[in-house]
Protein backbone atom coordinates (compact mmCIF):
# COMPACT_ATOMS: atom_id res chain seq x y z
CA UNK A 1 0.00 0.00 0.00
CA UNK A 2 1.44 3.33 -1.01
CA UNK A 3 2.67 5.44 1.89
CA UNK A 4 1.79 8.59 -0.07
CA UNK A 5 -1.84 7.59 -0.44
CA UNK A 6 -2.07 6.67 3.26
CA UNK A 7 -0.70 10.10 4.05
CA UNK A 8 -3.24 11.71 1.75
CA UNK A 9 -6.13 9.84 3.38
CA UNK A 10 -5.04 11.40 6.65
CA UNK A 11 -5.13 14.83 5.00
CA UNK A 12 -8.57 14.06 3.52
CA UNK A 13 -9.89 13.33 7.02
CA UNK A 14 -8.91 16.82 8.07
CA UNK A 15 -10.09 18.60 4.92
CA UNK A 16 -6.50 19.56 4.07
CA UNK A 17 -6.38 18.36 0.48
CA UNK A 18 -7.00 19.97 -2.91
CA UNK A 19 -10.13 19.22 -4.98
CA UNK A 20 -8.01 17.50 -7.62
CA UNK A 21 -6.36 15.20 -5.07
CA UNK A 22 -9.76 14.52 -3.52
CA UNK A 23 -11.00 13.22 -6.87
CA UNK A 24 -7.89 11.04 -7.25
CA UNK A 25 -8.36 9.58 -3.76
CA UNK A 26 -12.03 8.84 -4.43
CA UNK A 27 -11.10 6.94 -7.59
CA UNK A 28 -8.24 5.17 -5.85
CA UNK A 29 -10.45 4.09 -2.94
CA UNK A 30 -13.00 2.75 -5.39
CA UNK A 31 -10.44 0.63 -7.21
CA UNK A 32 -8.33 -0.41 -4.22
CA UNK A 33 -10.10 -2.31 -1.42
CA UNK A 34 -7.14 -1.80 0.94
CA UNK A 35 -7.43 1.97 0.76
CA UNK A 36 -11.18 1.79 1.29
CA UNK A 37 -10.69 -0.44 4.30
CA UNK A 38 -8.04 1.91 5.71
CA UNK A 39 -10.40 4.87 5.25
CA UNK A 40 -13.11 2.95 7.13
CA UNK A 41 -10.71 2.11 9.98
CA UNK A 42 -9.34 5.65 10.23
CA UNK A 43 -12.85 6.99 10.67
CA UNK A 44 -13.55 4.32 13.27
CA UNK A 45 -10.46 5.42 15.24
CA UNK A 46 -11.78 8.95 15.18
CA UNK A 47 -15.29 7.86 16.24
CA UNK A 48 -13.79 5.73 19.04
CA UNK A 49 -11.62 8.62 20.26
CA UNK A 50 -14.68 10.84 20.49
CA UNK A 51 -16.79 8.15 22.15
CA UNK A 52 -19.04 7.94 19.09
CA UNK A 53 -18.38 4.34 18.11
CA UNK A 54 -21.14 1.87 18.94
CA UNK A 55 -20.08 -1.14 16.92
CA UNK A 56 -16.51 -1.56 15.59
CA UNK A 57 -17.84 -3.87 12.87
CA UNK A 58 -20.63 -1.61 11.66
CA UNK A 59 -20.59 -0.83 7.94
CA UNK A 60 -23.79 0.40 6.33
CA UNK A 61 -22.10 1.58 3.15
CA UNK A 62 -22.86 -1.50 1.08
CA UNK A 63 -26.59 -1.35 1.85
CA UNK A 64 -26.74 2.39 1.34
CA UNK A 65 -24.91 2.31 -1.99
CA UNK A 66 -27.01 -0.60 -3.17
CA UNK A 67 -30.19 1.39 -2.38
CA UNK A 68 -28.77 4.43 -4.14
CA UNK A 69 -27.82 2.40 -7.20
CA UNK A 70 -31.36 1.04 -7.36
CA UNK A 71 -33.05 4.43 -7.13
CA UNK A 72 -35.34 5.15 -10.08
CA UNK A 73 -33.74 7.68 -12.42
CA UNK A 74 -36.60 10.14 -11.74
CA UNK A 75 -35.33 10.44 -8.16
CA UNK A 76 -31.77 11.26 -9.20
CA UNK A 77 -32.57 13.48 -12.19
CA UNK A 78 -31.53 16.53 -10.23
CA UNK A 79 -27.98 15.16 -10.05
CA UNK A 80 -25.56 15.36 -12.96
CA UNK A 81 -27.36 17.92 -15.09
CA UNK A 82 -24.35 18.39 -17.34
CA UNK A 83 -24.84 16.74 -20.71
CA UNK A 84 -22.12 14.30 -21.72
CA UNK A 85 -21.10 14.56 -25.33
CA UNK A 86 -21.15 10.85 -26.02
CA UNK A 87 -22.53 9.31 -29.20
CA UNK A 88 -26.16 9.27 -28.03
CA UNK A 89 -26.21 12.76 -26.63
CA UNK A 90 -24.47 14.06 -29.76
CA UNK A 91 -27.39 12.77 -31.79
CA UNK A 92 -29.74 14.35 -29.29
CA UNK A 93 -27.89 17.65 -29.56
CA UNK A 94 -28.04 17.49 -33.33
CA UNK A 95 -31.83 17.11 -33.22
CA UNK A 96 -32.04 20.02 -30.77
CA UNK A 97 -29.85 22.18 -33.01
CA UNK A 98 -32.04 21.41 -36.05
CA UNK A 99 -35.18 22.27 -34.11
CA UNK A 100 -33.70 25.49 -32.72
CA UNK A 101 -32.41 26.46 -36.15
CA UNK A 102 -35.83 25.78 -37.63
CA UNK A 103 -37.60 27.97 -35.05
CA UNK A 104 -34.93 30.64 -35.40
CA UNK A 105 -35.54 30.86 -39.15
CA UNK A 106 -39.28 31.06 -38.51
CA UNK A 107 -38.73 33.93 -36.06
CA UNK A 108 -36.52 35.98 -38.44
CA UNK A 109 -39.43 37.95 -39.98
CA UNK A 110 -40.58 38.86 -36.48
CA UNK A 111 -37.11 40.18 -35.62
CA UNK A 112 -36.99 42.26 -38.83
CA UNK A 113 -40.21 44.18 -38.11
CA UNK A 114 -39.10 45.17 -34.63
CA UNK A 115 -38.57 48.87 -34.02
CA UNK A 116 -34.99 50.11 -33.30
CA UNK A 117 -35.90 50.76 -29.66
CA UNK A 118 -37.16 47.20 -29.35
CA UNK A 119 -33.93 45.88 -30.81
CA UNK A 120 -31.92 47.61 -28.11
CA UNK A 121 -34.09 46.35 -25.30
CA UNK A 122 -34.11 42.85 -26.75
CA UNK A 123 -30.34 42.56 -27.04
CA UNK A 124 -30.22 39.26 -25.09
CA UNK A 125 -32.15 37.72 -27.99
CA UNK A 126 -28.95 38.04 -30.00
CA UNK A 127 -27.60 35.27 -27.78
CA UNK A 128 -27.53 32.07 -29.79
CA UNK A 129 -28.48 29.10 -27.66
CA UNK A 130 -26.34 25.99 -28.03
CA UNK A 131 -23.59 27.98 -29.66
CA UNK A 132 -21.38 24.93 -29.70
CA UNK A 133 -19.28 26.12 -32.61
CA UNK A 134 -18.28 29.25 -30.68
CA UNK A 135 -17.20 27.09 -27.74
CA UNK A 136 -15.22 24.79 -30.02
CA UNK A 137 -13.62 27.87 -31.56
CA UNK A 138 -12.74 29.30 -28.13
CA UNK A 139 -11.24 25.96 -27.13
CA UNK A 140 -9.05 25.92 -30.24
CA UNK A 141 -7.21 28.96 -28.82
CA UNK A 142 -5.61 26.74 -26.19
CA UNK A 143 -5.96 23.32 -27.87
CA UNK A 144 -8.72 22.34 -25.43
CA UNK A 145 -11.26 19.83 -26.71
CA UNK A 146 -14.84 20.57 -25.68
CA UNK A 147 -16.02 17.90 -23.21
CA UNK A 148 -19.42 19.20 -22.19
CA UNK A 149 -21.27 22.44 -21.70
CA UNK A 150 -24.47 23.97 -20.42
CA UNK A 151 -26.47 27.14 -20.87
CA UNK A 152 -26.51 28.97 -17.54
CA UNK A 153 -28.64 31.98 -18.47
CA UNK A 154 -29.97 33.88 -21.46
CA UNK A 155 -26.53 35.36 -21.98
CA UNK A 156 -24.02 32.99 -20.45
CA UNK A 157 -22.70 29.46 -20.83
CA UNK A 158 -20.29 27.18 -19.02
CA UNK A 159 -18.07 24.67 -20.78
CA UNK A 160 -15.51 22.06 -19.76
CA UNK A 161 -12.48 21.36 -21.93
CA UNK A 162 -9.99 18.52 -21.79
CA UNK A 163 -6.39 19.59 -22.24
CA UNK A 164 -4.37 17.62 -24.80
CA UNK A 165 -2.39 14.62 -23.62
CA UNK A 166 -3.78 14.34 -20.08
CA UNK A 167 -7.00 14.44 -18.11
CA UNK A 168 -6.70 18.02 -16.91
CA UNK A 169 -9.93 19.98 -17.14
CA UNK A 170 -10.40 23.67 -17.83
CA UNK A 171 -13.76 25.26 -17.06
CA UNK A 172 -14.74 28.27 -19.13
CA UNK A 173 -17.59 30.62 -18.24
CA UNK A 174 -18.69 32.70 -21.22
CA UNK A 175 -20.69 35.91 -20.80
CA UNK A 176 -22.07 37.54 -23.91
CA UNK A 177 -22.23 41.20 -24.77
CA UNK A 178 -24.26 43.74 -22.84
CA UNK A 179 -24.56 41.69 -19.69
CA UNK A 180 -24.47 43.98 -16.61
CA UNK A 181 -21.21 43.72 -14.68
CA UNK A 182 -22.96 42.69 -11.45
CA UNK A 183 -24.40 39.63 -13.25
CA UNK A 184 -21.07 38.19 -14.31
CA UNK A 185 -19.12 39.32 -11.26
CA UNK A 186 -21.61 37.45 -9.06
CA UNK A 187 -20.71 34.10 -10.58
CA UNK A 188 -16.95 34.64 -10.73
CA UNK A 189 -14.97 34.16 -7.55
CA UNK A 190 -11.85 32.40 -8.76
CA UNK A 191 -9.63 31.79 -11.77
CA UNK A 192 -8.69 34.23 -14.49
CA UNK A 193 -11.11 36.59 -16.24
CA UNK A 194 -10.48 38.04 -19.67
CA UNK A 195 -12.39 40.51 -21.88
CA UNK A 196 -12.21 39.59 -25.56
CA UNK A 197 -14.33 39.53 -28.72
CA UNK A 198 -15.86 37.00 -31.03
CA UNK A 199 -16.12 38.82 -34.34
CA UNK A 200 -17.80 42.09 -33.42
CA UNK A 201 -19.30 40.76 -30.18
CA UNK A 202 -17.64 41.53 -26.85
CA UNK A 203 -17.17 38.48 -24.65
CA UNK A 204 -16.20 38.07 -21.01
CA UNK A 205 -14.45 34.78 -20.28
CA UNK A 206 -13.59 33.26 -16.92
CA UNK A 207 -11.15 30.36 -16.77
CA UNK A 208 -10.83 28.00 -13.81
CA UNK A 209 -9.33 24.59 -13.28
CA UNK A 210 -9.11 22.19 -10.37
CA UNK A 211 -5.70 20.99 -11.42
CA UNK A 212 -3.98 23.69 -13.44
CA UNK A 213 -2.05 26.44 -11.66
CA UNK A 214 -3.18 30.04 -12.15
CA UNK A 215 -0.01 30.76 -14.13
CA UNK A 216 -1.09 28.23 -16.75
CA UNK A 217 -4.58 29.78 -16.84
CA UNK A 218 -3.00 33.20 -17.38
CA UNK A 219 -1.02 31.77 -20.33
CA UNK A 220 -4.26 30.39 -21.76
CA UNK A 221 -6.03 33.71 -21.22
CA UNK A 222 -3.23 35.47 -23.14
CA UNK A 223 -4.13 33.42 -26.20
CA UNK A 224 -7.51 35.23 -26.22
CA UNK A 225 -5.82 38.61 -25.91
CA UNK A 226 -3.55 37.80 -28.81
CA UNK A 227 -6.53 36.84 -30.93
CA UNK A 228 -8.32 40.05 -29.98
Amino acid sequence: MSEIFEHKLSLLMDGEITPFETKRLVDEMHSNANFKSLWLRMNKHRAAMHGELLDPNLDLSQNIMSQINNLPSSETNNINKWPNLNLFSLNYMKVCCYLIGFFFILSLPLLNISSPSNQISSTPKNFLPLNESLLVDLGSNFNGSLKDYRITSASSMEANYLMPGNDELVKLKVFFDNIPEKDWLGTINQGVTVHTRSGSRPLILNLTSDNLPNQKLITISNSFHNKK
Binding site: S10, D14, E16, K23, M42, M49, E52, I68
Partner: protein, 193 residues
Protein backbone atom coordinates in the same frame (compact mmCIF):
# COMPACT_ATOMS: atom_id res chain seq x y z
CA UNK B 1 -8.85 23.83 1.15
CA UNK B 2 -12.13 22.12 1.83
CA UNK B 3 -12.11 18.45 0.89
CA UNK B 4 -15.69 17.95 2.02
CA UNK B 5 -16.89 20.63 -0.37
CA UNK B 6 -14.94 18.92 -3.17
CA UNK B 7 -16.57 15.58 -2.30
CA UNK B 8 -20.04 17.18 -2.32
CA UNK B 9 -19.33 18.83 -5.68
CA UNK B 10 -18.33 15.45 -7.09
CA UNK B 11 -21.56 13.90 -5.76
CA UNK B 12 -23.58 16.74 -7.28
CA UNK B 13 -21.99 15.89 -10.62
CA UNK B 14 -23.20 12.31 -10.19
CA UNK B 15 -20.11 10.66 -8.67
CA UNK B 16 -21.53 7.96 -6.40
CA UNK B 17 -18.04 6.82 -5.40
CA UNK B 18 -17.55 10.19 -3.72
CA UNK B 19 -20.76 9.66 -1.77
CA UNK B 20 -19.51 6.28 -0.59
CA UNK B 21 -16.47 8.07 0.85
CA UNK B 22 -18.80 10.38 2.80
CA UNK B 23 -20.87 7.41 4.02
CA UNK B 24 -17.75 5.63 5.29
CA UNK B 25 -16.64 8.84 6.95
CA UNK B 26 -19.83 9.68 8.84
CA UNK B 27 -21.78 6.44 9.36
CA UNK B 28 -20.53 5.66 12.88
CA UNK B 29 -21.04 9.20 14.10
CA UNK B 30 -24.55 9.39 12.63
CA UNK B 31 -25.65 6.02 14.05
CA UNK B 32 -24.32 7.16 17.43
CA UNK B 33 -26.23 10.47 17.26
CA UNK B 34 -29.49 8.74 16.33
CA UNK B 35 -28.89 6.12 19.02
CA UNK B 36 -28.62 8.88 21.63
CA UNK B 37 -32.07 9.99 20.52
CA UNK B 38 -33.80 6.61 20.07
CA UNK B 39 -31.83 4.29 22.39
CA UNK B 40 -32.44 1.47 19.93
CA UNK B 41 -29.34 0.27 18.09
CA UNK B 42 -31.08 -1.63 15.26
CA UNK B 43 -33.53 1.19 14.59
CA UNK B 44 -30.71 3.75 14.72
CA UNK B 45 -28.91 1.88 11.94
CA UNK B 46 -32.09 1.82 9.82
CA UNK B 47 -32.69 5.53 10.37
CA UNK B 48 -29.07 6.42 9.55
CA UNK B 49 -29.27 4.34 6.40
CA UNK B 50 -32.52 6.04 5.36
CA UNK B 51 -31.01 9.45 6.10
CA UNK B 52 -27.99 8.76 3.87
CA UNK B 53 -30.28 7.75 0.98
CA UNK B 54 -32.51 10.82 1.50
CA UNK B 55 -29.46 13.07 1.61
CA UNK B 56 -28.19 11.64 -1.65
CA UNK B 57 -31.54 12.21 -3.34
CA UNK B 58 -31.56 15.83 -2.16
CA UNK B 59 -27.87 16.62 -2.48
CA UNK B 60 -28.60 19.44 -4.96
CA UNK B 61 -30.42 21.23 -2.12
CA UNK B 62 -27.33 21.17 0.10
CA UNK B 63 -25.89 24.66 -0.24
CA UNK B 64 -22.90 24.21 2.03
CA UNK B 65 -24.00 26.81 4.61
CA UNK B 66 -23.40 24.17 7.28
CA UNK B 67 -21.18 21.09 7.27
CA UNK B 68 -22.46 17.97 5.54
CA UNK B 69 -22.66 16.22 8.90
CA UNK B 70 -24.88 18.94 10.42
CA UNK B 71 -27.17 18.69 7.41
CA UNK B 72 -27.47 14.89 7.44
CA UNK B 73 -27.87 14.91 11.22
CA UNK B 74 -30.98 17.09 10.82
CA UNK B 75 -32.32 14.73 8.16
CA UNK B 76 -31.69 11.72 10.43
CA UNK B 77 -33.34 13.27 13.48
CA UNK B 78 -36.39 14.29 11.43
CA UNK B 79 -36.55 10.77 10.01
CA UNK B 80 -36.36 9.37 13.56
CA UNK B 81 -39.17 11.65 14.71
CA UNK B 82 -41.32 10.66 11.73
CA UNK B 83 -40.63 7.02 12.44
CA UNK B 84 -41.76 7.39 16.04
CA UNK B 85 -44.86 9.39 15.12
CA UNK B 86 -45.89 6.89 12.43
CA UNK B 87 -45.53 4.10 15.01
CA UNK B 88 -47.74 6.10 17.33
CA UNK B 89 -50.26 6.73 14.54
CA UNK B 90 -50.41 3.03 13.70
CA UNK B 91 -51.58 2.40 17.25
CA UNK B 92 -54.44 4.86 16.41
CA UNK B 93 -54.05 6.88 19.57
CA UNK B 94 -51.57 9.42 18.28
CA UNK B 95 -51.27 12.74 20.03
CA UNK B 96 -48.41 14.97 21.13
CA UNK B 97 -48.45 13.72 24.71
CA UNK B 98 -48.18 10.13 23.56
CA UNK B 99 -45.30 11.08 21.28
CA UNK B 100 -43.43 12.61 24.22
CA UNK B 101 -44.19 9.52 26.29
CA UNK B 102 -42.86 7.24 23.56
CA UNK B 103 -39.67 9.30 23.37
CA UNK B 104 -39.14 9.20 27.12
CA UNK B 105 -39.91 5.46 27.21
CA UNK B 106 -37.43 4.77 24.46
CA UNK B 107 -34.89 6.83 26.36
CA UNK B 108 -35.31 4.62 29.39
CA UNK B 109 -35.32 1.18 27.77
CA UNK B 110 -31.78 1.09 26.49
CA UNK B 111 -31.06 -1.73 24.12
CA UNK B 112 -27.38 -2.29 24.79
CA UNK B 113 -25.98 -4.97 22.50
CA UNK B 114 -22.67 -6.71 23.13
CA UNK B 115 -21.09 -4.71 20.36
CA UNK B 116 -21.62 -1.52 22.32
CA UNK B 117 -19.62 -2.95 25.22
CA UNK B 118 -16.96 -3.93 22.73
CA UNK B 119 -16.93 -0.34 21.48
CA UNK B 120 -16.42 0.90 25.05
CA UNK B 121 -13.40 -1.39 25.40
CA UNK B 122 -12.09 -0.12 22.09
CA UNK B 123 -12.46 3.48 23.17
CA UNK B 124 -10.44 2.83 26.32
CA UNK B 125 -7.84 1.04 24.24
CA UNK B 126 -7.60 3.95 21.78
CA UNK B 127 -7.30 6.51 24.56
CA UNK B 128 -4.51 4.42 26.11
CA UNK B 129 -2.84 4.22 22.71
CA UNK B 130 -2.99 8.01 22.39
CA UNK B 131 -1.44 8.42 25.84
CA UNK B 132 1.41 6.12 24.79
CA UNK B 133 2.22 8.09 21.63
CA UNK B 134 5.49 10.04 21.60
CA UNK B 135 4.94 13.49 23.12
CA UNK B 136 5.19 15.56 19.94
CA UNK B 137 2.86 13.26 18.01
CA UNK B 138 0.34 13.03 20.87
CA UNK B 139 0.19 16.81 21.30
CA UNK B 140 -0.20 17.45 17.58
CA UNK B 141 -2.90 14.81 17.15
CA UNK B 142 -4.76 16.04 20.24
CA UNK B 143 -4.74 19.63 19.00
CA UNK B 144 -6.30 18.39 15.77
CA UNK B 145 -8.76 15.83 17.14
CA UNK B 146 -9.88 17.34 20.43
CA UNK B 147 -9.26 21.07 19.98
CA UNK B 148 -10.27 21.13 16.31
CA UNK B 149 -7.32 23.28 15.22
CA UNK B 150 -6.40 23.47 11.53
CA UNK B 151 -2.93 22.37 10.40
CA UNK B 152 -1.92 26.00 9.99
CA UNK B 153 -3.05 26.86 13.52
CA UNK B 154 -1.21 23.85 14.94
CA UNK B 155 1.95 24.89 13.10
CA UNK B 156 1.60 28.36 14.68
CA UNK B 157 0.98 26.94 18.16
CA UNK B 158 3.87 24.48 17.96
CA UNK B 159 6.11 26.84 16.05
CA UNK B 160 6.99 24.23 13.43
CA UNK B 161 6.51 23.88 9.66
CA UNK B 162 3.09 22.73 8.42
CA UNK B 163 4.77 19.69 6.82
CA UNK B 164 5.87 18.53 10.27
CA UNK B 165 2.26 18.83 11.48
CA UNK B 166 1.08 16.70 8.55
CA UNK B 167 3.71 14.02 9.21
CA UNK B 168 3.05 13.87 12.95
CA UNK B 169 -0.69 13.51 12.50
CA UNK B 170 -0.22 10.83 9.87
CA UNK B 171 2.30 8.98 12.03
CA UNK B 172 -0.07 9.14 15.01
CA UNK B 173 -2.91 7.70 12.99
CA UNK B 174 -0.66 4.98 11.65
CA UNK B 175 0.18 3.89 15.20
CA UNK B 176 -3.49 4.03 16.23
CA UNK B 177 -4.41 1.93 13.19
CA UNK B 178 -1.98 -0.78 14.30
CA UNK B 179 -3.63 -0.80 17.74
CA UNK B 180 -7.09 -0.91 16.16
CA UNK B 181 -6.16 -3.71 13.74
CA UNK B 182 -4.53 -5.77 16.54
CA UNK B 183 -7.66 -5.38 18.65
CA UNK B 184 -9.94 -6.44 15.80
CA UNK B 185 -7.74 -9.43 15.02
CA UNK B 186 -7.61 -10.63 18.64
CA UNK B 187 -11.34 -10.07 18.93
CA UNK B 188 -11.95 -12.10 15.82
CA UNK B 189 -9.80 -14.93 17.21
CA UNK B 190 -11.73 -14.84 20.52
CA UNK B 191 -15.02 -15.04 18.65
CA UNK B 192 -13.78 -17.99 16.62
CA UNK B 193 -12.71 -19.97 19.71
Amino acid sequence: MNSEKSLINLVKKGDKKAYNVLVLQYQDRLVYSVFKFLKDFELSQDIAQEAFVKAFKNIDKFRGDSSFYTWIYRIAINTAKNSLSSKARSSEVYDDDLMDLKLSESAITVDNPENILEADQLRTLMMDAIQNLPDDIRTTLSLREFDGLSYEEIADVQNCPIGTVRSRIHKGREILDKTFSKYNLSNLETNLL
